[in-house]
Amino acid sequence: MLEIKNLHARIVDDGTEIIRGLNLTVKAGEVAAIMGPNGSGKSTLSYILAGREDYEVTEGDILYNGQSILEMDPAERATSGIFLAFQYPMEIPGVATMEFLKVAMNEQRKARGEEPLKIPEFLKRVKEAAASLSMDMAMLKRPLNVGFSGGEKKRAEILQMKLLEPKLCVLDETDSGLDIDALKIVSDGVNALRAPDRAFLVITHYQRLLEHIVPDSVHVLYKGQVIKSGDKSLALDLEANGYAGVIGEAA
């Protein structure tokens, strides 16, 4: 489903190269965990997948279902099924959450040639998704993410993921800022979405999240490259021994 080939990318503003020859393949139905120390390029990778303009790909390619996505803008990537759950979701004053959800869902439907949702059906879906994440509907009456706690923002991201039904879900440190109860709710939300035709890229610092969202593969990112891949036992190994050993091996 996702094939990243010899990817090199830098920050547009100052030319700093962050991703330096990254290779990664994720199959449909797979949950791939990306781990790595601070500054290894994890969040940058998630932004590049989503199409943020602050980064520029200088070499290599990203294939999604066999097609390069490099020329697609963020909206085109999203409507094609790529979803990024942000580490720090933006607060957007003045944009009502419900209105935003409706616009986003209908834009995606439009791109797939489907009719816009009727209001009762839309409300039903939002209510169900919110209930499954123990979210209060009153929260959704507020402007988008404004005044939400860190945990509420993460839940709101997963809510959007549920409603938009993407095919490639990129979760950028979704566990940061969550207490143990919220972590459980969010993980259950993600697990409920696991499907044979859907892949996940779970970016995290800690093994903790991977106890709840059990990955099929684990990849260690360091200095903009995948330096080691393995199964879930690699995450346990990292938790026990830290990154130093793996980094040493690669060097």
Partner: protein
């Protein structure tokens, strides 16, 4: 030889002076009113204000007003549906009030032409100081409008919508409204039309003790029209006025706001939205007098500038010497969406009392790229995402009005603007 040369009159000045001569026999008014008209046209004969007049510095009327259309008695303006369903509509079509305007319980409505003929509003015709070009223009030519008197204690359930609709030519309208003690009302002032008209419109509001009024000015003139308007209000003891101004049209627009707190406990809120497109020039100029102790005000203006449009906000707050414990805050925020657009903000605080809290701030920003990325990352295309963010920027001010029907009505006007200019 002339000692000092009078600058040559512009075509617009000449057209106005000639039009006055032609119209004189048709203008309603008793002797006193006609004298006020004479004084007013004399002021215009001295020339329209230029940038050398401080209050007109950013809107050089003499240069900008280059075409004055002739009066067009055949123009037919059509009444429109009110922005809030069920409102009592008082239409002024092509400058003429309706003899069969609907009766509203607790409210006396009179055609302004009658008040001009009997001379009972003569005092209100005096211009506001020596640079009051809009007041003078209106006093010279005003032919009609409505006088609305809301009795003490009356609480209106539905808004009154004053519609001033033009279909070209010139229209000069006056809308005096008195709101009795303890009365409550929502008043919509609708300014629109279809022609390349010259419109002058003066609203005068007096709020009795404890009265509460929300007054909404919705200006949607076509991009060929010149719209020169004034809103004057006196806010009595413990009375509250919320003035909402939405400018969403016009070629040359100046909306002046002159408000005075006249009783302790008076509160004034100004919320304004200027949506500027094309090569429109839109100027909102406010003079607020805190004239007595213990009065409060807040002013928030949000501007969206696209194309080659130019906008102006001048906000002057005078705190008089005895007006202790005044609390006044003013903010003007602009979203500049094009390199060719511009917005000038001039806040002025003149404070003669020593125990007051006054502040002002102004910002100019572009669309936040992080916000744009976030919305696009959810599949909203760039154009729609920008639209959502721009709308959000101004909708924040509307949502503060916290009356659901009004908020929805104004958001519908906002959507309308984005549909044609988005």
């Amino acid at each position: 030889m002339n000692m000092h040369t009078q600058p040559q009159r512009t075509p617009a000045e000449t057209a106005l002076i000639d039009a006055f001569g032609d119209r004189l026999s048709l203008l309603p008014g008793d002797g006193a009113v006609m004298l006020k008209r004479d004084d007013a046209i004399e002021a215009i004969k001295h020339g329209l204000p230029t940038r050398r007049i401080e209050s007109w510095h950013y809107t050089d009327l003499r240069r900008l007003l280059n075409v004055v259309p002739a009066f067009d008695p055949a123009a037919l303006a059509k009444a429109v549906a009110p922005i809030v369903e069920g409102s009592a509509v008082l239409p002024v079509l092509n400058g003429t009030s309706d003899a069969k305007a609907p009766a509203i319980e607790g409210v006396a409505v009179q055609r302004l032409s009658e008040k001009l003929i009997d001379g009972s509003i003569v005092l209100g015709l005096d211009p506001y100081g020596s640079d009051d070009a809009i007041g003078a223009l209106n006093t010279a030519f005003v032919a009609d409008g409505y006088f609305v008197d809301i009795a003490d204690g009356v609480e209106l359930e539905k808004p009154i919508e004053l519609q001033n609709l033009q279909a070209g030519g010139q229209t000069h309208v006056r809308l005096p409204v008195r709101v009795g003690a303890g009365a409550k009302a929502v008043i919509v002032e609708r300014q629109a039309g279809e022609g390349a008209a010259l419109v002058s419109s003066v609203s005068q509001l007096v709020l009795g003790e404890g009265a509460e009024v929300t007054w909404l000015i919705v200006q949607e003139q076509p991009d060929t029209a010149t719209h020169l308007a004034q809103f004057k209000a006196h806010i009595g003891k413990n009375a509250k006025l919320t003035l909402f101004v939405m400018n969403a049209g016009g070629k040359l627009v100046r909306q002046e706001i002159m408000v005075k707190t006249t009783g302790e406990g008076a509160d004034f809120k100004l919320r304004g939205i200027n949506l500027l497109a094309g090569d429109a020039h839109t100027d909102v100029t406010m003079v607020l007098d805190h004239a007595v102790p213990h009065t409060t005000s807040t002013e928030i203006i949000r501007n969206v500038v696209t194309g080659k449009a130019r906008g102006v906000f001048q906000g002057r707050i005078n705190v008089h010497q005895y007006a202790q414990k005044t609390n006044a805050k003013m903010a003007c925020n602009t979203l500049l969406l094009s390199d060719d657009g511009e917005f000038s903000t001039k806040p002025e605080l003149e404070i003669f009392a020593d125990d007051v809290v006054c502040g002002h701030g102004a910002t100019v920003t572009e669309i936040d790229h992080d916000h744009l990325f976030y919305l696009m990352a959810r599949g909203v295309d760039e154009k729609s995402a920008r639209g959502l963010l721009v709308k959000a920027f101004v909708a924040e001010v509307i949502e503060e009005l916290d009356d659901v029907t009004i908020v929805e009505a104004l958001e519908a006007r906002l959507d309308d603007w984005f549909l044609t200019h988005g």
